[in-house]
C-alpha cells in the first residue's frame, strides 16, 4: 500500500508538468486551431526566466574586505551583491534564496509578451494554412528559440535550487500511519503539485466564471457566430495565447529546482505533452489535465522495480504505448469532443 501511494506521489510532479503544458497546448489548439510545436520551447524559456532572475539578483560588485586576507597576505576581495547594498545582508540573502518563487512574478509579463509577439508576429499568418505548415513553422521556431537560449546560456544544465526552506523532505509515511520513512517526499514536489493545481484551477475558473472566459468558450465552440455578433474574437484569442504561454512558462519556472534547466528540456517535454494532448482528446481542457496526471502516474508505476523485472524497459515506452492503444480504440481520446480535428 505504501509503495502504491509513493508511486502515485512520484507521478504527480511529472504529471503536473505534463498537465500544465498540455493545458496550454489545448488552449491554443481549442481557440486558434493551431498545433503549436514551439510550446515546449515556451516551457524552457520559462525555466530560463528563473535562471535569468537569479543571475540578476546575484549581480555583484567587488569590495575589499580589510579584515580578511587571501593567501598572499593582501586584503581579500569579496563579491557583494547589489542587493546587500539596498536591503542589507539578511534581507538580500533571503531574496536570493527565494529567487525561484520570485521569478514567477518576473516570468508572467515576459511570457505573456513572448506569447503576444509569437501570435501576432508569426502564427496569425498561419490560420488559413494547412496543419502540416503550422506544425513545420512552429517546429522551426522551436529550434530557433532553443538555439538562442543555448547561445546565451550554454549547453550545460544550470542548477537552480529551491529556497532552502523547501529543500528537505516530508515524511508522509509517519503521517498516514505507515512505517516512518516508508514514504518520503521532497517538499518542493508537493509545492509543485499544489502550484499546478492552483494554476489549472485558475485557468478553469477564468474560463468558467468571467465574461471574458464565456466569450472565449463561445468562440471555441463557434468562432464565426461570435464574430458575427460584433465581438472581436481574434483579440481575445491572442490574449488566450498569451495566457497559454504564461502557463507553460510558469510550469517551467517552478520545474527548475526539480530538474536543472538546459536548452533542450522543452523538446523533451514537448513530445510527451503532445502524446498527453492526444490521449486526453484534442481540444478538451479537462481531458488534457486528466491525461497529464494519469500518464505521469502511469509512468512512475512503470518505473517500479517489480514491474521492471517482469517487463524490462516498460517505463521508457509506457506513455507511447498507452497513446497508441488509446488512439486506436478511442480515436477522439479520453474526453475528446466531436468534430474537433476529425479528418
Amino acid at each position: 500500500m505504501d509503495a502504491i501511494i509513493l508511486q502515485i506521489l512520484n507521478g504527480l510532479d511529472k504529471g503536473s508538468a505534463y498537465a500544465l503544458i498540455a493545458l496550454g497546448l489545448t488552449l491554443i489548439f481549442g481557440t486558434l486551431g493551431v498545433v503549436n510545436f514551439a510550446h515546449g520551447a515556451l516551457f524552457m524559456i520559462g525555466a530560463f526566466c528563473a535562471v535569468t532572475l537569479s543571475r540578476i539578483l546575484t549581480l555583484s560588485h567587488e569590495v575589499v574586505d580589510e579584515t580578511r586576507t587571501d593567501f598572499l597576505g593582501n586584503p581579500l576581495k569579496v563579491d557583494v551583491p547589489y542587493l546587500y547594498d539596498i536591503f542589507g545582508q539578511t534581507t538580500g540573502d533571503a531574496i536570493i534564496d527565494w529567487a525561484v518563487p520570485i521569478s514567477i512574478l518576473f516570468a508572467i509579463p515576459v511570457m505573456v509578451f513572448i506569447g503576444f509577439a509569437m501570435e501576432r508576429g508569426l502564427i496569425k499568418h498561419f490560420y488559413k494554412r494547412p496543419h502540416a505548415d503550422q506544425i513545420l513553422v512552429t517546429f522551426g521556431l522551436a529550434i530557433v528559440l532553443q538555439e538562442i537560449i543555448k547561445y546565451f546560456y550554454g549547453a550545460n544544465p544550470i542548477p537552480t535550487p529551491a529556497p532552502s526552506a523547501f529543500t528537505g523532505s516530508f515524511d508522509f509515511g509517519a503521517m498516514l500511519g505507515f512505517d516512518p520513512g516508508s514514504i518520503i517526499y521532497p517538499y518542493w514536489r508537493i509545492i509543485y503539485f499544489m502550484f499546478a493545481a492552483v494554476i489549472i484551477g485558475a485557468v478553469f475558473a477564468f474560463l468558467q466564471f468571467t465574461t471574458f472566459g464565456m466569450v472565449v468558450r463561445a468562440g471555441m465552440a463557434d468562432r464565426e457566430t461570435v464574430g458575427l455578433l460584433g465581438i472581436n474574437i481574434d483579440k481575445r484569442f491572442t490574449i488566450m495565447f498569451g495566457i497559454a504561454a504564461a502557463v507553460a512558462g510558469l510550469a517551467g519556472v517552478m520545474y527548475t529546482p526539480i530538474n536543472s534547466p538546459n536548452y533542450h528540456m522543452g523538446m523533451d517535454f514537448l513530445v510527451l505533452s503532445f502524446v498527453v494532448v492526444v490521449v486526453g482528446g484534442m481540444g478538451s481542457l479537462p481531458g488534457a489535465v486528466l491525461a497529464g496526471f494519469l500518464l505521469g502516474i502511469l509512468e512512475s508505476f512503470a518505473s517500479m522495480a517489480i514491474v521492471l523485472e517482469t517487463l524490462p524497459g516498460i517505463n521508457q515506452i509506457i506513455i507511447y504505448l498507452v497513446a497508441i492503444i488509446i488512439l486506436l480504440t478511442r480515436p477522439r481520446g479520453l474526453m475528446g469532443r466531436k468534430g474537433v480535428m476529425e479528418d
Partner: protein, 398 residues
C-alpha cells in the same frame, strides 16, 4: 527506360552531377583561403547521397500523399542495425547487409504504417512520432543486447562472419563490395587541386541513382496518381468507392524501405551504429530536407538533403578566427562588430541558421528551393521572352 524526355534529361543531369561530384564539390585549390568551402571529401559526399536517398523516400510519402510522418528516423535506424548484424554474422560484403536492411525496414514500416495509417492529419504525425520515440528508447535501454545501447555496434575481430575467411591477426574487418574496400580512395592532383575518388561514394551514388529512377517511375505511374489523389481529397476518393488505405500503406512501406536503404548504406560507409540516429530530431531533419528542397517535386528532396548536409559541414567548421580573416579589410571597430553579429550563426550556431532558414522557407516559399528556382526562372522569362530556356537543375518536371 519508360521515361519521358524531360524526366530522362533530369535523370541524366543527376547522374552526371553524381559522377563528377568530386570535381564539382572541390572548386577551390588546396591550401587556399577558400578551401574550407570544398566539400569533395569522401565522408561528406557519401552523406550527401545517402541522405538524398532518405529524403527521396520521405518525399514519396509526404510529397505525394501529404501524410507528415515524424518518425522516419526509426526506419533508418532499424535498417542500420539490420545491416550491421549482417556484417557481424554473415559477411563484410555490403550487398547482403543492404538487402537485409531494406527488407527489415520494410517489415517494420509495414507494422508501423498499418497501425498509424488508421488515423490521418496531426494524429498520424503523433502516432509515427510515438513509434519512433519508442524504438529509440528501447534501443537505448532494454534492447541493449541487440543494439549495443549507448556504445552502439561496430564489427569486431571476434565476430563469426561465417561467409568470410578468417582475418589475419591484427586486421580490422572492413566493409567491402566483393573485395573492393569501401574506404578505398584514389587521389588525383591537378596543379593545386586535389580530387578524391572514393569507392564507397560511387557505390552509394549508383544506389542513389537507382533510387531516384524508381522514384521518378513512382511519380509518373498510376499508383503515383492515386497517391496524389489521396493528398488532394481523400474523402472524395473514398466516396468513389476506392479504398485508399492500400495505396497509402504501400507508399508508407516504400518510403520506409528507402529509409532502411539509407540506413544500410550509412553502415556500409561507416561501420558503426548508435541509437541517436533514431532520435526524433533526426526524423525532423529529413522533414526539413524535403520541405527545404520542395516537397512533392522530384529533385527537391535531393537538393534539400545536399543543401542541409553541405552547409551543416561547412558552416560548423567556420570559427571566429576565420571570420576575422574575412572581415580583416575593414576598420577594426566595424570588423569586430560584424564578427560579433555573424558569430552566433556559424560554428556551433549552425542549428540556429538552419532553424531560421527553415522558418523563412515555410513562411515565404512553401514549395522550397525548387519553387524559388521556378520563380526566378519565371522572372527571367517575363523580362526576356527570347531566352526562355530555364535552368534544368532548378526547374524540374513537376
Amino acid at each position: 527506360m519508360g521515361l519521358t524526355k524531360k524526366d530522362f534529361t533530369l535523370l541524366i543531369i543527376v547522374a552526371v552531377l553524381c559522377l563528377f561530384a568530386p570535381f564539382i564539390l572541390n572548386p577551390f585549390p588546396e591550401g587556399s583561403a577558400m578551401a574550407q568551402f570544398n566539400a569533395g571529401y569522401p565522408d561528406l559526399m557519401q552523406r550527401l547521397v545517402i541522405f538524398g536517398i532518405f529524403a527521396i523516400g520521405f518525399n514519396i510519402l509526404f510529397g505525394l500523399t501529404g501524410y507528415l510522418s515524424f518518425g522516419h528516423a526509426a526506419f533508418l535506424g532499424v535498417g542500420s542495425y539490420a545491416a550491421i548484424w549482417m556484417m557481424k554474422l554473415l559477411t563484410m560484403n555490403v550487398i547482403p547487409a543492404i538487402i537485409v536492411s531494406v527488407a527489415v525496414a520494410g517489415l517494420f514500416s509495414l507494422l508501423v504504417g498499418w497501425i498509424s495509417l488508421r488515423r490521418s492529419g496531426i494524429y498520424f504525425s503523433i502516432l509515427t512520432l510515438a513509434f519512433a520515440q519508442m524504438s529509440y528508447s528501447l534501443a537505448y535501454s532494454v534492447l541493449t543486447p541487440i543494439t549495443g545501447g549507448e556504445t552502439g555496434l561496430q564489427p569486431k575481430y571476434t565476430d563469426p562472419r561465417i561467409l568470410d575467411g578468417d582475418l589475419p591477426p591484427g586486421e580490422t574487418p572492413r566493409a567491402n563490395l566483393f573485395g573492393l574496400d569501401m574506404k578505398d580512395s584514389t587521389q588525383i592532383t591537378m596543379g593545386d587541386w586535389v580530387f578524391t575518388f572514393n569507392a564507397g561514394y560511387y557505390v552509394a551514388a549508383v544506389v542513389m541513382l537507382v533510387a531516384f529512377y524508381v522514384s521518378i517511375r513512382i511519380f509518373r505511374s498510376p499508383f503515383g496518381m492515386m497517391l496524389r489523389a489521396v493528398k488532394s481529397n481523400q474523402q472524395r476518393l473514398n466516396y468513389t468507392g476506392l479504398n485508399s488505405k492500400p495505396y497509402t500503406l504501400a507508399a508508407f512501406v516504400i518510403s520506409g524501405m528507402y529509409a532502411g536503404l539509407a540506413g544500410g548504406l550509412l553502415v556500409a560507409m561507416d561501420t558503426q551504429v548508435g541509437a541517436e540516429r533514431m532520435f526524433w530530431t533526426a526524423s525532423g531533419e529529413v522533414v526539413l530536407m524535403t520541405i527545404l528542397g520542395g516537397a512533392g517535386t522530384l529533385i527537391g528532396p535531393v537538393l534539400g538533403a545536399g543543401f542541409i548536409k553541405y552547409f551543416e559541414n561547412i558552416i560548423s567548421k567556420i570559427n571566429e578566427s576565420i571570420l576575422h580573416q574575412w572581415f580583416a579589410f575593414m576598420p577594426d571597430g566595424i570588423e569586430d562588430f560584424l564578427v560579433s553579429m555573424v558569430y552566433p550563426f556559424i560554428g556551433k550556431g549552425w542549428h540556429l541558421t538552419l532553424g531560421i532558414v527553415f522558418m523563412l522557407v515555410v513562411i515565404f516559399l512553401p514549395g522550397g528551393l525548387v519553387e524559388g528556382g521556378q520563380r526566378v526562372a519565371r522572372l527571367f522569362k517575363r523580362r526576356k521572352p527570347s531566352s526562355d530556356k530555364p535552368d534544368g537543375k532548378t526547374t524540374p518536371a513537376e
